[in-house]
Symmetry: C2
Subunit: 432 residues, 2 copies
């Protein structure tokens, strides 16, 4: 069969990685795909010293690749929204398939892009957009196709996981570790996307669409970062048998769908609790299969290139056939619009840390507030004030309850004379 001719747009970390994996593993890839996959053209603002492009056509104009009649598939690795979107739509308009690692683009503009691709009979592949080298898109779109997916939960931002791991393992503070992560290149100079959960929300939006067959709706994802997590909370969680992870959680309930990114206590006995450092992991629960877990590198040249090239191999096998042999963009032939629940409607369990004046009856007042709102206490730790201090700490784990009830309870607890400052609230998921 004729080789597949690829145009790589963007030759940074991931673009360079893709270029090199296609070269290094060319023989294996051709043996698997049944045909060669060759780089016809590269668009880059500057060359990547890690790549030997001496025998490759190089341009600085990504649109020259998108309109190049010799290119079968463009690989969009420039990132961002505007140019990337125009590039992808131009490539589609020119009848080319697209492979992208751009989670923001898919989460925000995916519905429009997929519609354009379907009208042209081409495919937009995005395995690399979520959890790097872990083939999680394929697992959910294809591997678990027999299931009604009940829920999924993932550690889908390596920077955040690195920070939380260091906080726990070495007793360090958030801002101290963040600074190191920036020096190591794990975190951007502006870390908002990573530590405030926006990057994870992009990925969770994509995962939930392919799990339930709903439109992409990033704007409805509840997002809470990890910058307020303290060493104390990490230690109390540990004492209770839990780890704190920054999770994206999505659940299909009778009332609608949860879509939320926030710090979460998870039981330390779960294998996912051991997923440390920059690793990513996704748990998926299906009504036939039960729990499954997928772990691997969530970023980096090699892992992301692994996902990009897997998409190219899938295309190599199917691009000459009717589009119907390829998997639906969002996994489902027909997308159904199901309500995404506002966070107030979501049901979860909670960890609460309450600073109180050390006097009689305080615990009773807190317990009464909770019990009056139907909130059961699952575990409790009360710590004496430290030597020379006056404030005690009450740490509680509750049963599952709707968030709006918890909001009311927290407001009432904060209204007690004995309570000092705000109540710390971290959600808890058993992942059982």
């Amino acid at each position: 069969m004729k080789p597949v001719k690829v145009g790589i747009c963007g030759l940074g970390t991931v673009g360079g990685g893709t270029f090199n994996v296609l070269a290094t593993n060319a023989q294996n890839i051709a043996r698997r795909a049944g045909r060669e996959i060759i780089v016809e053209q590269v668009a880059a603002r500057s060359l990547n010293p890690a790549c030997d492009t001496s025998n490759t056509k190089v341009t600085d104009d990504v649109f020259a690749v998108a309109t190049n009649p010799d290119v079968d598939v463009i690989v969009e690795l420039i990132g961002g929204y505007d140019v990337a979107k125009k590039l992808v739509l131009t490539a589609i308009e020119n009848g080319k398939h697209v492979v992208t690692a751009n989670k923001a683009l898919i989460a925000v503009h995916g519905d429009e892009i997929f519609a354009a691709a379907e009208a042209k009979g081409v495919s937009v592949m995005y395995e690399a957009a979520v959890a790097g080298g872990i083939p999680i898109i394929k697992a959910i779109r294809e591997g678990l196709a027999a299931n009604r997916i009940n829920w999924l939960a993932g550690i889908i931002n390596g920077t955040g996981n690195f920070i939380l791991t260091e906080m726990r393992d070495k007793g360090r503070d958030f801002y101290d570790v963040l600074k190191e992560a920036q020096e190591l290149g794990y975190a951007e100079a502006d870390p908002t996307f990573d530590v405030e959960g926006i990057d994870a929300a992009h990925k969770l939006t994509i995962l939930s669409s392919i799990a339930y067959g709903i439109p992409l709706q990033f704007e409805r994802c509840y997002t809470e970062g990890i910058s307020k997590i303290t060493r104390e909370d990490v230690e109390f969680a540990e004492e209770l048998g839990y780890r704190i992870k920054h999770l994206g959680v999505s659940r299909q309930t009778e009332k609608g769908i949860d879509l939320r990114v926030h710090p979460t206590l998870i039981p330390e006995a779960r294998p996912i609790a051991k997923v440390d450092g920059v690793l990513n992991a996704v748990m998926v629960n299906g009504n036939a299969v039960g729990n499954t877990l997928y772990v691997g590198a969530g970023a980096g040249a090699g892992p992301t290139a692994s996902a990009v090239v897997a998409d190219l191999v899938d295309l190599a096998r199917t691009m000459d056939a009717d589009a119907s042999v390829r998997v639906n963009h969002l996994a489902f032939d027909k997308i159904e619009d199901v309500q995404v629940l506002p966070i107030e409607e979501v049901e979860t369990a909670y960890y609460l840390r309450i600073q109180v004046q050390d006097k009689a009856g305080v615990l009773a007042s807190v317990a009464t507030i909770l019990s009056e709102r139907g909130i059961n206490i699952e575990a409790i730790i009360q710590k004496e004030p430290k030597e020379g201090e006056e404030l005690a700490q009450i740490i509680l784990l509750t049963h599952r309850i709707q968030e709006k009830n918890m909001n009311a309870a927290i407001a009432a607890i904060e209204g007690l004379d004995s309570t000092v400052g705000s109540v710390t609230r971290i959600r808890v998921e058993q992942l059982a």
Copy 2:
């Protein structure tokens, strides 16, 4: 599109599960596949009370299904070798696709069956044959297609993992737990297949073929069971920071391919070390992606049905197109015959437990024997004799070394006057 018509052969645990998943999740499955998947006929020696077959054609003759012109795909769930092989070949001869959960059949007769299927332009799908509901075949054949796979290692027998987990968690003995596993239905009356590693060897044979593009060669798989693992070894491993798991390990080296199932010490810090009970898990290391890990239920009606039906959905999408759009049976377009190394040539690290008389110079003699054979000691524990006993124990962890050198060292240690009985040897893998 026209529905896909399925003939289910065998209505036991997995057959019944498949029948029920297709019914319960029919709507979801059709939304994903873009067409309905319906059960046209069932062959069963006796009906399964868990299945409502009142509206289904039922026969007691599996060959009637394999030759039924209204059936597009047969699902072989009768197990065993002879009848299953004849059934699958008959279905292929009649132009039908096949989905099977039969690991023994694929590991032993796969090459012949795949050749017959390719000659007819049909596919034999076997996701359910390895690690139940975990989509590991898809992950390796497709998700990691960009990679040269360096190694893989899996907990791929749930019975064995249940036994080892109970031994560790509750300090129980092997035969005590085995008896319970048999009562719970986790282990067969004849547990040989599970506890001696034959079942795991079938699965490892399949995984290594699709990882490296080599023929299936079950007969060359080294197999060692877990029946000789003692509570003591479990405890010493723990003391050294390891867990004992029954692993299938396969590694691609310059000299050839490792293919081996044996009890293995793995570092407790790895997420796979936390995979307990009847769960399965597979780690795969690729040269682009690094380490990836897949965890889930390795057996049972729902999980296995999940894998069977995922194969049916893949077929539903691709069966009307040219065979080239479907993935190669053993992942590679061209299979290359690479030598499987005899166990003596394999390189691994070792845990040794040596019972010795408690006298001066014993440790020095052991250390000398190892050092003369180029074997470095990584860690050591020496235990005093228990109160009232005369024998001491030396526990060693070594660096990686070829098995034949270790065999020679063990023979020499066993030849020392101070050594009592045989040396216990368990292989160690870092999975790093």
